[in-house]
Symmetry: C2
Subunit: 143 residues, 2 copies
DNA sequence: CATAAATTTGTAATAATTATAATATTCTAT
DNA sequence: ATAGAATATTATAATTATTACAAATTTATG
């Protein structure tokens, strides 16, 4: 296991997750890419290095990371789940043209909760949709 | 077609949607229930009255309503799409215990968009998760 | 009525995720 | 070091929501 993976292995160990090779690599992909990848994205990338890798292992690992609080599910797509290791509060913007998902800062406490008296709130998500600057530029030129 | 359906038929007609019986009934269900139902929910309810109803028709109608701007998709669940005919800006709270989804007022313009300069924003969603008052009460008592 | 257009329906295809059980690996105690 | 227990990985099948497709039905139009 190379140097950059060592810290992640430790991180898993600290959270009582055995740092097996597939697990470290899944976490590494999430941390390095920060792309909110799908399970499929992760599998397709890692299977090149780990030919024996099973998609089930990717799903198992992601479920484990989410259950232990090391990752979060991002539900901005209709059909597929995406995963995020940035645990600090932030919003997600999805470009309807190229599909990419970008983080943006948002002060979630600014959002009032009138009308939710008596509700226990565990999680607050802010999801925007639109077109990113790159795609807007492309529309102006080639479009 | 009964009286309450007549207004909805008109509403469809005004939006250049032929007010067929299944379409009026799907819209009526959305308007009356305001429950953010799934396609399955709608189908199971309406098929009792319209035995010939096909689930494809429900999906077709929902797609039509969304495309023409008469309904919106609510993507608060991981796996299934829900539908909403309330078009004014509001947030959605999902109870993790009983699964119900409730609307709440939210001033979406309050959410800053620093970090999204140059982005064209089409849609802003606010999704909360937690436990509703009824389920909180049940936890305290029946545990 | 005849014909064309639109709608509905049943069936099959897709695709993401989960369930299950066999196999392989790792841990623990002797 | 080794046996047995616990855990992790894998392949496969099952589940489920949604979409694709084409035949059948209904509705509109001349
Ligand atoms: Mn993020
Ligand atoms: Mn709503
Ligand atoms: Zn883009
Ligand atoms: Zn509840």
């Amino acid at each position: 296991m190379d140097n950059s993976s060592q810290g992640l292995a430790n991180y898993l160990q600290c959270n009582n997750i055995r740092p097996t090779y597939p697990r470290v690599k899944v976490l590494e992909f999430l941390v390095v890419q920060q792309n909110h990848p799908t399970a499929e994205d992760i599998y397709l990338h890692l299977v090149r290095e780990i030919p024996s890798l099973s998609k089930t292992t990717v799903y198992n690992t992601l479920k484990l990371l989410v259950d232990r609080g090391l990752a979060k599910v991002v539900n901005i797509e209709e059909n597929e789940m995406r995963y995020d290791v940035i645990l600090t509060k932030h919003g997600h913007f999805k470009c309807e043209s190229c599909g990419k998902i970008v983080d943006f800062p948002v002060n979630i406490e600014d959002i009032g909760t009138e009308g939710l008296d008596g509700f226990k709130i565990h999680e607050k998500d802010v999801l925007f949709r639109g077109v990113c600057p790159q795609c807007l530029g492309r529309e102006k030129n080639g479009g």
